[in-house]
Symmetry: D2
Subunit: 340 residues, 4 copies
């Protein structure tokens, strides 16, 4: 058996807790060694549950010589600084999406990892879903010919606290998944223009405070393909993630909201349960992205989803914000050009 | 048994021939009495096949006192004039889509039918598909709450002669179906703005001649709903028509390309045949729209799809053309205001 | 246009009324000329609705020189005598299933049609369903290799009057469809043995009166294939007809209870309407079997479903009854040997 | 964190290897401590891969005081003796199906576990599949009313070495899964009679040597329900496991052979990959049954699948063998009466 990798998790919130459990229980070759959270009780509870050490200061966790790899699930604003710190400490880095909220921060993060020669993987988990991966394989194998029309949908299961949603979340945190998916499913092409429109339809009372909970985006690529990305913060039937790629020789679709193979037929007709939360729908994908991360660390190779991928998706998200502000299509340029 | 309605068909092309056979064989209460086509051999062959009289001059067919209802399947440019002539002759009118290519012609047609007090139904057959009708019923029943996000897709099975496609066909003839569908599935709301982007991806060599064979449109409605309409002239797997309406309480989808319930499992996995042409996929819908037309004629009532509906869809299509020309969102206004 | 065939319908009950309307409205080349029913008001109402003449005596309808073809939808016991009478009168014959309730009657009917040189088609409508036909095509094309395991299911939507169900109905009237389907989907093979078990599970209070409303049958064929046929008189979710053929190279399935392509997603999950009655689920198949019948009459050829087919299915049904009586497998022999 | 359970695996064949990896990598609270296999190189290779100790003698593994729980994946004939030995050593026991090949051995195994007060779980993994579990929940919740008709299908993906298949394998090793599933999905009912028919259709040349690779079974329960179980050793399209329960108020189905949500549409129609091997199709179920086992051990409670369940399924399988030998229905009695 190869060396077991000691992983430190930063951020013991909902998604961090899910990550911690997966790393502890589902990822061969990894060991959850530490948990950091500024709220001591959160850090300690999770650490105790999983047999890890607790930190309140993430920088202390990063500095710990026993830790070989860091998983960042802190608040989005803190991501870039933590990446830089972890890179300088020579740790392998997995960062939850979004990697950053500005191109400058993205560049800082990517440069820091490059300069330190450490792995930087970003949490675009959809790439590890079995259906989306099979769709990607179909596209790259040429089964559908040249890409012409695309679609990616994200609908979250609900919006608990509209007042707490930072501005532009729908693009920077939600649709960032779809932008990465669309760029990945149109290999070799670059986005050149976006049109975005957004509104507060789920919680219209919060529109004045800047809430945008519903959005539609059209991306035009340099190979002529047009992609539609669409998001809502509140799907009554659960968590809905789907993709579609149409090309000169056919179409491929991915995503299926059914919770299981069970189908029930009654006097009301046919019914089937739908998945209700992201960690349920994409449970295997979440585990698989950490398996990939630990494999990359152990094999000393680049991961399949990188900081540059995160920068590309972010560039599209930022152009969407510009498009909404101007109510015009906005250009997207230099998505892969990391400033040095 | 009520009176049988004598129907005269104008235009013995592909879709006219299909219409003629349906009227002759599938529509209770109707009788195909006459066929008109400027090509005498086309008119005569179809008339002979179905036991009808042949005309070369559509105005002669319209003038024939034996004819009670006229089905117009001539070229799009001729539609408005034929509607006006038929209305003045007091005939009930079914006109294949698009009813007209300009708002002026739409107004002329609608006014003529109103002034003559005759029925004017337009061939938006998708409204008569069982799946789309059930989706509409779900929306109007409140099952999905208030409408927030919509999608309508049309993909034709191929493009035989790119050089013969008139400019803007993708909006005026193809997506006109989707515009009607989206307006119908968002009852009570009006379109206020569209963004459209289009390209020649199927036959790029014809782009210089003005061909647009692929298009994506975003419609913003006055109730905040955003709708995406999407078209391609060439789907390798056949004819693809689908719709989706997402609302505050759920989602409804319609459209299924499977040719039959047959599923084949072999060493290559699961496979299922897909429908290849529109008259195959929507065969029952085509019959049902004529059943509706003949019922409306016999009952002396307004049909469920009217000339004003056609004007509304046309207004969206024309705004799309403006949006493509300016590469900006275009306003849509007064879609139901027929000029007098 | 070829000659129009004058059709006389015998039996104006539920299925006869449906047949009459289809012949009048959906079958090119046919004309519903007469309706016979011992209940004068039934015959007259249906005849008036469809512009036909009414008879109370079916033999008078058969004797009418204007009638070229007879559709028999009378009670099952009367089928064989009516076939013999119609054959002697030189009429083409369509008989609703079951063609007869005994092999002697089957032989009489088949011989009478043969001796008179008239067409005799039996109403195994499932053969005309698009999905089942595609399954049959897949089997005969060799796509699934040699047949090994089969399944055919019939579940009716309810049992209104258990006291009125004649003995052995589940085999002679219901599963007769499945037996024909299974024999047709295993071409070239003959049934050699059946095991049948049946019970009154829908209406157990009527078991003492001989009701059997639920049954499972295993048929062993001479090519080794085993087929399961299964019936229930009461499916809460509607009318359920499905088939499955598994072979050395794959599997094919047919049958899908969804009423339309519409799918509804709400907080309760995904739901889809199911078809509720046979004439809804198999509407197109009912029309298609009459199109076949009229084509065979006009072309003077044998129909694709014959009296010998009905005899074969009946032989299996009778063996099932023997199996239930003895609680042992029963042999099936000479299914195609019409006694002369 | 609770105590970690030290698990020893007996049998490093295909399924044992899969079990070992799952226990090592996917089961929180468990540790794979030892592997035993009479082939030293197999034991050592697997032990080295997973950081465990290797044994050639399973009794030595059982005797090791460090081992708290034993997973038996040895050959079927050895199961009962190993269970007795492990029980006497006070170990918690997970035994792969079939628990035994005779009722006497079943009784010995069950008694030994009872007398020692240790947990005995049997590997009916289908109960842990998400779809089958949801179906079970639907049945027990009353959603489909009283059970009337059932179906369970197992089709393996191929038959590598027909000469090596022990007699009656199709009932004792393959359909044993379906018998457990059917008994579990018809709670409170007992099987009273079975009819079984079997043949060598996959490898007919081996029929003379006693091969039976295809079988159909009908089980009659004391609540009147009839269940069909069906098996083939060779499905060209992969591994196929499905279930169906029909009751007075509806139907529930489980099982779906699609490998992922990906659907590909090309000029050949729609296609979807199918799962090819059992450990692929039921991967999550295999993990879940060990999670259940370890939870039961840690919580000191009975597992959800017991030795008595295995005895019940075996009693049905043995009755099938009798039915095939006599070509008559065979009685099933006293399935839960463990002889003391």
């Amino acid at each position: 058996m190869d060396e077991t990798i000691s992983v430190g998790l930063i951020g013991a919130g909902r998604i961090g807790t899910s990550h911690a459990r997966l790393i502890a229980e589902r990822v061969p070759g990894a060991r959850l060694a530490a948990v950091a959270d500024p709220r001591p009780e959160s850090a300690e509870a999770l650490a105790a549950e999983l047999g890890a050490r607790a930190f309140t200061d993430p920088l202390a966790l990063i500095a710990d010589p026993d830790i070989q790899a860091v998983v960042i699930a802190a608040s989005s604003e803190a991501h870039a600084d933590l990446i830089v710190a972890a890179a300088r400490a020579g740790k392998a880095i997995f960062c939850e999406k979004p990697m950053s909220l500005s191109l400058e921060d993205a560049d800082r993060a990517v440069r820091a990892a490059e300069d330190a020669g450490v792995i930087l993987q970003v949490g675009f988990n959809r790439r590890f879903d079995r259906g989306f991966r099979a769709a990607h394989d179909a596209v790259t194998s040429g089964a559908i010919g040249s890409v012409q029309l695309m679609r990616s949908v994200t609908r979250d299961p609900g919006l608990a606290n509209p007042a707490a949603v930072p501005p532009w979340t729908v693009f920077l945190l939600t649709l960032i998944h779809d932008f990465d998916t669309l760029l990945w499913l149109n290999p070799g092409a670059e986005p050149v223009e976006v049109y975005a429109t957004a509104d507060a339809l789920v919680a219209p009372d919060f529109k004045d405070q800047g809430l945008l909970d519903t959005a539609v985006v059209v991306i035009t690529f340099d190979n002529g393909a047009r992609a539609v990305a669409e998001a809502s913060f509140s799907a009554a039937y659960g968590y809905d993630v789907r993709g579609e790629v149409f090309g000169s020789r056919g179409m491929v679709t991915a995503g299926d909201g059914a919770r299981s193979s069970m189908r029930l037929y009654t006097s009301g007709g046919l019914s089937q349960d739908t998945a209700r939360v992201d960690v349920e729908l994409l449970h295997e994908a979440y585990a698989a992205e950490f398996v990939e991360f630990v494999s990359a660390v152990r094999e000393g190779r680049a991961p399949s989803v990188t900081g540059v991928d995160a920068r590309r998706a972010l560039a599209v998200a930022l152009a969407c914000i510009e498009s909404v502000k101007t109510n015009r299509p906005a250009r997207v340029a230099g998505v892969t050009e990391v400033a040095r």
